[in-house]
């Protein structure tokens, strides 16, 4: 095996899209990557059932679907106490391409974003991103999900500024 060869055969991936062709396209790419355990569903409601039953490792999710939207599904996964894994990486695959839509997806708690049309390279890069560069998670009164700023934990590489004032540090 090469340095960048992953055991994708160990992954359980959930593909959520109400369009059968897009599901087949994504599934074909994932299977070629070596993913064996792929569940396909055509709605966010079925995705929730599947997630609770099988606790998938990664979710590839459409945004615009009949019934519950992809955004509402993400919020449910991140905040519902019945979610099996609120940290599950979610890759949103959507025809929405504006910056505002990317912001909305980010604010809902998406990990990675793919604007259609989907390509093999983009799918691989986002999959590798959730494996190799997972984001820290943030919990505030109004949000729970991946940190909306990349590399927030690691971005400051200098010395601890408050070490020089241990009294102040203790007070916090």
């Amino acid at each position: 095996m090469g340095a960048n060869d992953y055991r994708f055969d160990r992954l359980k991936v959930l593909v959520v899209d109400d369009n059968i062709h897009m599901r087949k396209l994504v599934t074909t790419i994932l299977q070629a990557f070596g993913v064996i355990q792929i569940a396909e569903v055509d709605s966010a409601e079925r995705a929730w059932e599947s997630l609770r039953e099988f606790n998938h490792d990664v979710v590839v999710l459409d945004w615009v679907m009949e019934g519950m939207s992809g955004l509402d599904f993400i919020r449910m996964v991140r905040t519902n106490p019945q979610a099996p894994n609120p940290f599950v990486p979610i890759i949103m695959l959507t025809g929405h391409t504006s910056l505002d839509h990317v912001r909305q997806a980010r604010d809902a708690g998406v990990n990675e974003f793919i604007a259609k049309p989907v390509s093999v390279k983009t799918m691989m890069s986002r999959l590798v991103a959730v494996i190799e560069h997972p984001r820290p998670y943030v919990r505030t009164t109004g949000y729970f999900g991946p940190c909306r700023r990349r590399s927030a934990i690691n971005e400051y590489q200098g010395p601890e500024r408050r070490v020089e004032n241990p009294k102040q540090q203790a007070a916090e």
Binding site: F8, V120, V138
Partner: protein
């Protein structure tokens, strides 16, 4: 007195990395080659897939025309949005452009504002013509003029609605 910490930032254990391994952090080129080959094989089905999507759009248009309302409008938007996202993959970028214009009109007109059926039909007809004639070249002058005209008409309708 301890200050409240309203923001909790933490790094959960990387279970994915533990599961799939890989050390280089780069793209798995062998897997990508396999996927490109699989996509090539799949291309023979793209003609049927875009035909299905166009049929879905026509049906959604008919439904909205017969029973305009929230549900039929949402179904029309979903049909247009799907084509916008998928048509480039199926080698029909011009269809994607027209579908994007239709999606924009439906998305930007306020919910209570009735969608102009004549402009919906202009979009749907354009998509049918492009599909029927197999127009895949984005440099086609006639197609470009048609797309520009549709964009302009949508701009007008959206501007009028916001007055």
């Amino acid at each position: 007195m301890a200050r409240k910490q309203p923001i909790e930032l933490f790094m959960p254990p990387n279970m994915l990395k533990a599961k799939v391994g890989g050390g280089g952090g780069g793209l798995d080129l062998a897997a990508m080659e396999r996927a490109e080959a699989a996509m090539e094989e799949l291309q023979s089905e793209f003609g049927d897939w875009i035909a299905d999507d166009v049929k879905t759009l026509i049906a959604a248009r008919a439904r909205y025309a017969a029973t305009p309302g929230t549900d039929s409008r949402a179904a029309l938007l979903r049909a247009a949005h799907d084509i916008k996202g998928q048509a480039p993959t199926f080698n029909y970028p011009l269809i994607a452009r027209v579908a994007a214009s239709l999606s924009r009109m439906i998305g930007e007109l306020p919910g209570g504002f009735p969608l102009p059926l004549n402009l919906i039909d202009a979009h749907v007809s354009a998509i049918q013509v492009i599909h029927k004639n197999g127009m895949q070249d984005t440099n086609d002058k006639i197609a470009q003029a048609l797309c520009a005209e549709l964009d302009a008409r949508v701009d007008e309708v959206v501007a009028d609605a916001s007055k």
